[in-house]
């Protein structure tokens, strides 16, 4: 907000809440970055570290809940202040979910790295994760600067994440059909892909909440939905010439 409250402690309370969201967002971003590096380097130690640090994110969420409820009880905010506080509760919830998916990603990375299981399509997974990391960074910028154009742009980017998920689904399925020994590792990778895809969805939700917070209206135009994996089915004939193993 460009104008300040007459009662300065009100500004202080709202700023505290906003800073907690930004801090939590930074933490989530950082952990996703590390989880992705662990996947890329097949680093079991790093993935374990990410796994254990999820509690920090949960603590941040609890802090935001407490601070938002306190503002509601003591300040009775209205208009944009009210939207700001209510959206902070929702945004913290989405960030916590992203953190939870990151934790899951780290756990699966740890499992496949330890077991020396099949790993393929890692570079696509890493690119997908980097895309989501960029979205999280942008959406936090949008929250911080109240810039709805950035938030709109983040909504649009989720389609790219979905397309990558579709590609990965197909790729990993192909690996599994090629050799049943790949299945165990590929299944974990598929779940990681799904986790990242869900992170993209939560980030998009945050973008919508930022738009509502600033304008008081939910974006009407439905965001493009690109995840088609739930409608995909493949037989041997879909997998091309080198798929003779799956036919046997």
């Amino acid at each position: 907000m460009n104008t300040d409250h007459i009662l300065r402690s009100f500004d202080k309370a709202l700023n505290k809440n906003e800073n907690l969201i930004l801090e939590m967002g930074g933490l989530v971003e950082q952990q996703l970055k590390e989880a992705t590096r662990a996947l890329k380097k097949e680093d079991a130690k790093l993935s374990k570290k990410v796994l254990l640090s999820h509690n920090n994110i949960r603590e941040m969420e609890a802090k935001i809940n407490a601070s938002a409820i306190q503002v509601l009880a003591l300040r009775q905010p209205v208009a944009m202040d009210l939207r700001n506080v209510i959206m902070s509760l929702r945004i913290a919830g989405h960030l916590e979910r992203i953190g939870q998916y990151t934790k899951n990603m780290a756990r699966r990375t740890h499992t496949i790295t330890k077991a020396d299981a099949f790993t393929g399509s890692i570079s696509t997974l890493v690119r997908m994760s980097e895309l989501v990391q960029d979205m999280i960074k942008s959406v936090l910028d949008a929250y911080n600067t109240l810039d709805t154009s950035i938030a709109e742009e983040v909504r649009g980017r989720d389609e790219d994440v979905d397309h990558m998920h579709n590609t990965l689904f197909r790729e990993l399925l192909t690996y599994m059909m090629e050799d049943p020994k790949n299945i165990s590792g590929a299944m974990h990778l598929l779940f990681i892909a799904k986790n990242i895809e869900r992170m993209g969805d939560h980030t998009t939700e945050i973008a919508q909440e930022v738009i509502f917070m600033v304008t008081g209206e939910w974006p009407v135009e439905k965001r493009p939905k690109g995840d088609k994996t739930s409608r995909m089915i493949f037989g041997p004939e879909d997998l091309g010439a080198d798929s003779d193993q799956s036919g046997s």
């Binding site: 104008t3 300040d4 409250h5 009100f10 009775q76 905010p77 209205v78 208009a79 944009m80 939207r83």
Partner: protein, 269 residues
């Protein structure tokens, strides 16, 4: 569905256009040379509570008083524009101001019971307007008015005690009973709760909620929370302008004007 439309029809007064009971069009009010209200136009729906909010000196009380010509008694006060009650121009020279004020009653910031008994406070209006056919009928009007104002149970055994002996909240409800006794259509309230404690305030607010079935209430209030709690329509005044008028939810959740947003959220500017 049928039930709903039946219910809706019941509240619609066929004589009123779009259910609008009071309307103001291009209203200016001057105190001498100083303009207190600048070209205000808006419409107040029947059987609703409409709140007028704004900082001190914004003109909200001045505007409220235009609706029953209370400004007539202030020296140097000039009202121009078109103000209508149920379609009728209330500033028409042919209008009888006394009966207008019976149709559009008023409750003030400070409870002002007459230094008479509780009974006489309420009986006064019906008596001077000749509304009671008999002594029994008058007593009936007094009791039903006290009941509608939510005061009867508290004073039933001391109707002939002085009205000034009641507590602040009870005195204010006595004034509401007095306004109701002459069977008005509209009740104007000018900060009716500003000198009451939260419990007495809650009782009056609850009373207003139940009163809106029968009356239209226009309330001036300093408490934005009070406006948010009880009104269906809110008008925000600032420096004599009507800045924004709309559904109360919209005003408090997503005001369209920056001046409204700044005022209701406690900001400077």
């Amino acid at each position: 569905m049928a039930k709903q439309s039946k219910k809706k029809n019941k509240t619609v007064n066929p004589k009123l256009k779009n259910n609008i009971i009071l309307s103001a069009k291009n209203v200016d009010v001057f105190y001498g040379k100083k303009q207190a209200i600048n070209n205000v136009s808006f419409e107040i729906p029947e059987n609703r509570i409409t709140a007028l909010i704004g900082p001190s000196g914004c003109g909200k009380s001045t505007f409220l008083r235009c609706f029953n010509r209370m400004n007539d008694i202030i020296d140097g006060c000039k009202v121009t524009g078109d103000i209508r009650f149920a379609g009728q121009d209330i500033y028409d020279p042919a209008v009888d101001v006394v009966s207008l004020r019976a149709r559009i009653g008023m409750v003030f910031q400070k409870a002002n019971p007459f230094p008479k008994s509780i009974f006489e406070n309420v009986a006064y209006g019906p008596r001077i307007h000749g509304l009671a056919k008999s002594k029994d009928h008058l007593a009936e009007i007094v009791v039903s008015s006290l009941k509608r104002a939510g005061l009867f149970d508290e004073v039933a055994d001391r109707l002939h005690d002085s009205g000034t002996g009641l507590s602040g909240g009870q005195q204010q409800r006595l004034c509401i009973a007095r306004a109701i006794a002459v069977d008005p259509q509209v009740i104007l309230m000018d900060e009716p709760c500003s000198s009451l404690d939260p419990i007495a305030t809650a009782i009056i607010e609850d009373l207003m909620e139940s009163m809106k079935k029968k009356y239209t209430i226009v309330i001036v209030t300093h408490s934005m929370q009070q406006a948010a709690r009880i009104s269906q329509k809110t008008a925000f005044f600032h420096l004599g302008d009507l800045v924004e008028f709309g559904d109360t939810e919209d005003i408090f959740m997503n005001p369209k004007k920056i001046r409204t947003q700044n005022y209701i959220s406690g900001r400077t500017g």
